[in-house]
Chain length 167, copies 2
DNA sequence: AAGAGTGCGTTTGAAAAATGAACCCGTCAA
DNA sequence: TTGACGGGTTCATTTTTCAAACGCACTCTT
């Protein structure tokens, strides 16, 4: 699959991944949420190759996750800031942080988070209806209005994503 | 930066990304949460090159996100299942799904989710202390016990991630 | 006026990774 | 004994990534 086509898959994960499913991109976004805005600041913090950083920032701007704004004329200087669409990625980043904190931080958390309610906290994902914590086993899925027009058939029926040829 | 070293960065996002920050890996995990378990099933659903799939599954097993279990002897057949550590990635996947639903699904959601409470729902990330929805602007960070021993100094001080040489 | 520094990139070749096709292996059923 | 199935590996080619160098427009210092 080419990554161009990934964004057109009838799956929200695939579409999201087509925009942010890249290691450098996720690290760039982490830094955005920490307040980093300038090309050089990203470069110094991440030790990312410049061409890659330029490419990722360009793509994030194109997909409207970041916007590039002039913060100084003469000499022209730009900064990259999260849009509303970009800010909406906060749960993704926090979910990653929390998973890393729980499973990959044997020496303790690298960073502590404090909420405006005054306490240190963990991010918890809950059901918008009953407000209890979401567990994978308690969720079922069904096709929605944006699903594929021509749904895949079970493997028995010929034509299910062309079985690989045998000699 | 080599990806080997990324897992050792004093940042939970970096560590999480070193395990799952890859496009195919995220799509494999999506399918895991949809109940896919077998090599061929992943291959058919994702149209992923076999060597890449084998590599990603191997890495996920090594990092204990999946476990490979024999579900049939003679002929030997295996399946890949989420471990507890893997199940804990559910908020990451749901956060991606929801972002994709909101920002990348002009024709409606490809998939609807129903919670065991009986309702269709959205996943919402809340503060574990006050239970209100988390907003990036309402969170501050501070160094934690697992932070770097030798913290980076502000750029003014020499040695801040070696400034690139000039001609 | 010369030279150095800054911010933000692009170009260039070499190294690493992804890709598609083919191949392999143990088992079973016809 | 031929073929199918599940689950991979090998191989050659294309695509990405990388580090280093280069470019440019401006400003600051001497």
């Amino acid at each position: 699959m080419q990554w161009k086509k990934l964004g057109k898959e009838p799956c929200s994960v695939a579409r999201a991944v087509s925009v942010i499913g890249d290691r450098w991109t996720l690290l760039v976004l982490r830094d955005c949420f920490l307040g980093v805005r300038r090309f050089e600041a990203f470069e110094n913090r991440l030790r990312i190759p410049r061409p890659v950083l330029a490419d990722r920032l360009r793509k994030l701007v194109r997909s409207e996750v970041l916007k590039k704004t002039l913060y100084e004329k003469r000499p022209a200087r730009y900064e990259y800031r999260l849009t509303e669409k970009g800010l909406d990625l906060y749960p993704v980043i926090m979910a990653l942080v929390h998973w890393g904190d729980v499973h990959m931080a044997p020496g303790g958390r690298p960073l502590l988070h404090r909420h405006s309610c005054g306490h240190r906290f963990d991010p918890v994902m809950v059901c918008s209806q009953c407000e209890t914590e979401l567990k994978a086993r308690e969720v079922t899925v069904a096709p929605g209005p944006g699903g594929r027009q021509n749904p895949r058939k079970p493997p028995k029926i010929a034509g299910f994503s062309s079985p690989r040829p045998r000699s």
